[in-house]
């Protein structure tokens, strides 16, 4: 029998062959543009600057210093090696006790020490990605749905749905009230789902919000809790940006909110991670913290599918239990984030670009509505392509976060150094000022620009799959640059 390509596809599952991974979406064009032509201050000063990656690189120096000062923590010295035997064969999916204690303590500290987390409820998972998926596997069956306030993290579409078979029902939030989550919007989305015979299993929110960078205030969170409590559905709080808050009001964990609320705690679940708050995405540490014993036990058994290596647990246990280091790190990190956020938003304000008021996250929500030709998603995408291909900044358009209003963009600011920030700001300023002049420009030049755009877009077809996973972050990307891109330079 001929084992053709078509035949082999038929032999694979739907999950292996469908688009659930989301990497075929046009939004990955920004990543492709970056990967094919990454900016470097000296080697490629006209390259694309990556502003689509929520990575916290501002405190690498502190981490590096700690690792060098504590070599035994990496089981890499004569002192550390004595622990090796226990570490190497440690395969209990509960995780090292010290690690769980360290994480629980850290979570408490990030929440302002107003609530303590029980180390025995800490469940490991493969990054926040794995943690979110695990919670979904535990809470819902294929065909069920979760309400997600929009705009929401683009990866939710994959993490919550791909392998679990769930659906997402967006809850539209509007700029008119600063994208706040209202009870009315929740009710509306819930009713609508009910009418279309969709079984809503819960609500999932990110607090602080990705992409908005805002923090939920106490009242909003309380009304959320009473909503899910009334409907008897679950609430999953993704708090992976908790320690990136750099202003007031402070971050309030859901764990603190429910302390003095009359609600069914079995419905409350927290997802946490060290990828953003500590800037450790390479460590792949995700945490599920559920107040529901069944969910906790189930998630723990599922953690076998994404465990953190015992070597890394050991390293982190030492680091997170070093209170002096943690305190210093958190202070310094939020100071640096605040400064960077300020440089960016103030710099943009000077050219008349405003952004949503925010004080958390590794990004802000830029308002480009005045620059849209018309208030449509199509116009937003058009503008976005210009920003990627002409301005050469990979920012993320609001529509990729299912934002219901066109013209908003997420701009990440913590994954670059100060020099790059200056270049990025300069480019945006030039672009905006040019745009103001362009209003007087002729039809002809506009036409030329469009053509150019189309050309550069087609060049991205050269790059496939693995590129889209964010692993080419180094400015020295080994990927050969497209001849088309080079020609344009």
């Amino acid at each position: 029998m001929e084992f053709t390509r078509k035949n082999s596809r038929q032999l694979l599952s739907k999950i292996a062959t469908n688009d659930g991974h989301g990497e075929n979406s046009p939004y990955f064009d920004g990543w492709k543009a970056f990967d094919s032509n990454p900016f470097h201050p000296t080697q490629n000063p006209h390259g694309v600057i990556q502003m689509g990656l929520a990575e916290n690189q501002l405190c690498f120096d502190l981490i590096k210093k700690w690792i060098l000062e504590n070599p035994d923590a990496s089981i890499c010295t004569a002192e550390g090696i004595d622990k090796f035997r226990d570490i190497a064969i440690f395969q209990d999916y509960h995780g090292l006790k010290e690690f769980r204690e360290g994480v629980a303590k850290f979570m408490g500290r990030v929440g302002g020490n107003r609530v303590t987390f029980d180390p025995n409820r800490i469940v490991m998972s493969g990054g926040a990605t794995g943690a979110n998926e695990t919670v979904m596997f535990c809470l819902a069956d294929p065909g069920d749905a979760f309400l997600v306030p929009s705009p929401y993290y683009a990866g939710f579409a994959r993490d919550l749905r791909w392998r679990t078979g769930l659906d997402i029902v967006p809850v539209d939030c509007k700029s008119s009230n600063n994208f706040r989550i209202t009870r009315a919007a929740l009710e509306e989305a819930y009713e609508k789902a009910q009418k279309s015979n969709i079984n809503v299993k819960g609500v999932i929110i990110a607090n602080p919000s990705n992409p908005l960078g805002t923090v939920l205030d106490k009242e909003t969170t309380r009304s959320l809790v009473s909503f899910i409590n009334d409907k008897s559905i679950h609430l999953v709080c993704d708090e992976i940006y908790a320690a990136t808050v750099f202003g007031s009001p402070r971050f309030i964990s859901i764990a603190e909110i429910i302390q003095d609320m009359d609600c069914d705690r079995d419905l409350i679940h927290i997802v946490y991670s060290l990828s953003k708050d500590m800037g450790f995405p390479g460590f792949r540490v995700g945490i599920v913290y559920s107040f529901n014993d069944d969910v906790m036990n189930c998630a723990r058994k599922m953690s076998s599918f994404g465990l953190v290596s015992s070597q890394t647990q050991f390293l982190l246990a030492a680091m997170l239990n070093d209170e002096e280091f943690v305190g210093n790190f958190l202070r310094e990190s939020s100071k640096r984030l605040a400064k960077r956020h300020n440089v960016f938003t103030k710099g943009l304000e000077r050219v008349g670009i405003s952004s949503l008021k925010s004080h958390a996250g590794l990004f802000f929500w830029m308002d480009m509505r005045p620059l849209l030709k018309e208030q449509t998603v199509k116009a937003e995408i058009e503008l976005w392509r210009v920003i990627i291909n002409k301005v050469k900044l990979n920012v993320s358009p609001g529509s990729s976060f299912q934002c219901s209003e066109p013209g908003w963009f997420r701009v990440c600011f913590a994954n670059m150094d100060d020099e790059t920030v200056e270049v990025a700001l300069e480019r945006i300023r030039d672009f905006v000022l040019q745009g103001k002049e362009k209003n007087h420009a002729s039809e002809k030049s506009k036409h030329w620009k469009n053509q150019n755009l189309r050309l550069s877009f087609s060049s991205s077809r050269l790059y496939d799959e693995s590129l889209m996973s964010p692993h080419m972050m180094s400015p020295h990307s080994p990927i050969p640059r497209s001849p088309l891109v080079r020609a344009r330079n």
Partner: protein
């Protein structure tokens, strides 16, 4: 008449068995029944009566199950133990019996009651009561230690290898500082902390591919670009299961098999496992005839078989699959147009004279059947590093690799661990020493343990790989069925304080077999274990 009476009195028991363990458990009842009836009425009756009984019980259970399911569905949508397969609703287990619609339909979304967790939660609660997990827990709570806890439970149920840890430790003491810290001078934080490729760094893939061919004694060379790395073999197997089968499809898996497969292959994927029984008369070797039969049975049940999962060396038996059988397996897979997942986790832990043959060795570069072969490997067994959670998918199918790379996002290996292991695996001299010495120690440990059991009158299947003795203790069980086996297991755990894995946890079709993992012990532990087993075996013999 006596026969019918006997059968009737036994029927509640059968029912319980079926409800608890599925078809495999029922077979364990039928085998002893055959024995009883044979003496009185001959072979034919002995076979027909239990079969008929089984058929009617299925019928009876089906009707009962329909009722309970209806109730479940009206109560809550999340109460169905296997929601995925039910929502696909293509299953019909017996010819002539259509599957009841209540199970076939997706959960009725309009009906709302108290909303609870997903069906998977309920599935696992049942699972953790299985002797395999109960034993592991007991041994963890009260671990034996010669000095500090001499009456504790001796762990023989967990497949970990402590025999060669000293070698790994020495290597780390000499080299690890260099591996991560680079003498403190050039610690490259950007290689450790930020996002890395989810399916493993290229350096690590090169190192792992090199290690694999070294373990397989250079018989095969592995291409790093065909490697996807995951956080342990467990996600590696699950990812392949997700890639190769839809919920409601099935894999053929020879029994006895590793108890964790029920979790890894089935739990979240909704994929089914069809048992392919191997028997003691064949030394538990896989027969293509049994495979054929299982395939046909699955087809009759309306199940779509998507592949075969083999373990070579086998866990729990420890035998190797011969080159001839591997070729027949390939032929079988080609004929049925299905995949082969070859779990070769223990490839480097062979200790006998038999030759280990990797599935990879059989495949010519231009063989179009390569696309159906997927190898699972890991560093937990052969490198004695289960805590580091490194699993490997090695596939010849580009589409499977592409999908697996994306799925690896949910279970990636931490970057500092990768850094450390790149250095370790690149040290070819160290790797060679480790493999050689580990084999020697394994062989000696195995021989001593088998000899010890033999003195107690317990025979083991001759094995050439893995960490286990697969022992026939059917002489010590009171009744030749699962119940008898579990009684003995209970005595071993609670009286002798030895945690072993009963064959029924591995879905062995014959009762009385037990898996002893010998690599968790030191040589001086062996007499202690034998003493403890002897006490139980004496009382068992007296009670017979």
């Amino acid at each position: 008449m006596t026969q019918t009476l006997y059968s009737r009195t036994r029927s509640p028991e059968i029912e319980k068995e079926i409800a608890g363990g599925g078809g495999g458990a029922a077979m364990r009842v039928i085998v002893p029944l055959q024995g009883v009836v044979q003496g009185r009425g001959g072979l034919v009756l002995g076979s027909i009566i239990p079969c008929a009984l089984f058929y009617f019980l299925q019928f009876y259970l089906k009707r009962n199950r329909k009722d309970t399911d209806d109730q479940n569905n009206s109560n809550s949508s999340g109460q169905n133990p296997n929601p995925r397969s039910s929502s696909y609703g293509k299953l019909s287990e017996l010819p002539g019996l259509t599957r009841s619609l209540s199970r076939g339909l997706p959960s009725p979304r309009s009906l709302r009651g108290p909303v609870f967790v997903s069906g998977r939660v309920r599935g696992i609660v049942k699972d953790s009561d299985s002797p395999y997990y109960v034993g592991l827990r007991r041994a963890k709570e009260d671990p034996y230690d010669e000095l500090s806890n001499p009456n504790g439970v001796i762990q023989l149920g967990l497949a970990e290898n402590k025999l060669s840890l000293d070698l790994v430790k020495h290597w780390l003491a000499d080299n690890a500082e260099q591996a991560i810290l680079r003498n403190g001078k050039e610690l490259s934080i950007s290689q450790i902390v930020p996002y890395q490729p989810f399916d493993g760094s290229m350096e690590f893939k090169v190192a792992v591919a090199g290690f694999m061919s070294q373990v397989m004694e250079k018989a095969v060379s592995f291409n790093p670009s065909q490697v996807v790395l995951t956080a342990g073999a467990t996600p590696a197997i699950e990812i392949l299961s997700f890639c190769l089968a839809d919920a409601g499809n099935a894999f053929l898996v020879p029994t006895p098999y590793y108890p964790g497969f029920d979790r890894d292959i089935k739990w979240r994927t909704g994929v089914e496992i069809i048992h392919v029984p191997c028997r003691s008369t064949d030394n538990f070797n896989l027969s293509i005839a049994a495979l054929d039969q299982a395939f046909d049975q699955a087809k009759k049940r309306g199940l779509k078989v998507r592949g075969i999962v083999i373990s070579n060396p086998s866990n729990p038996v420890g035998n190797l699959i011969s080159r001839g059988t591997l070729y027949s397996l390939l032929d079988f897979a080609r004929e049925k147009n299905i995949h082969i997942i070859s779990n070769e986790l223990l490839a480097g832990s062979t200790h006998g004279n038999e030759e280990f043959v990797s599935m990879a060795e059989l495949l010519d570069p231009d063989d179009s059947d390569r696309k159906r072969v997927h190898i699972v490997y890991g560093l937990s067994k052969d490198l004695s590093l289960p805590g580091f959670w490194v699993g490997v998918i090695y596939s010849y199918n580009e589409e499977v690799l592409a999908a697996a790379k994306r799925l690896a996002r949910f279970s990636s290996i931490s970057a500092p661990t990768q850094c450390l292991l790149v250095s370790m695996l690149s040290d070819a001299k160290f790797v060679q020493t480790l493999i050689t010495i580990n084999r020697e120690r394994l062989q000696s440990m195995y021989a001593q343990f088998v000899a010890g059991l033999k003195k107690l009158g317990v025979e083991c299947i001759k094995s050439s790989g893995g960490f286990y003795c697969w022992a026939d203790m059917s002489g010590l069980i009171r009744s030749y069925n699962k119940k008898g086996e579990l009684e003995l297991w209970d005595k071993l755990l609670n009286i002798a304080k030895v945690n072993v894995t009963p064959g029924s946890s591995c879905h062995c079709i014959e009762p009385g077999w037990f898996r002893f993992c010998v690599t968790t012990l030191t040589e001086k532990d062996i007499p202690v274990v034998m003493d403890r087993i002897q006490k139980v075996s004496e009382t068992s013999k007296l009670n017979r």
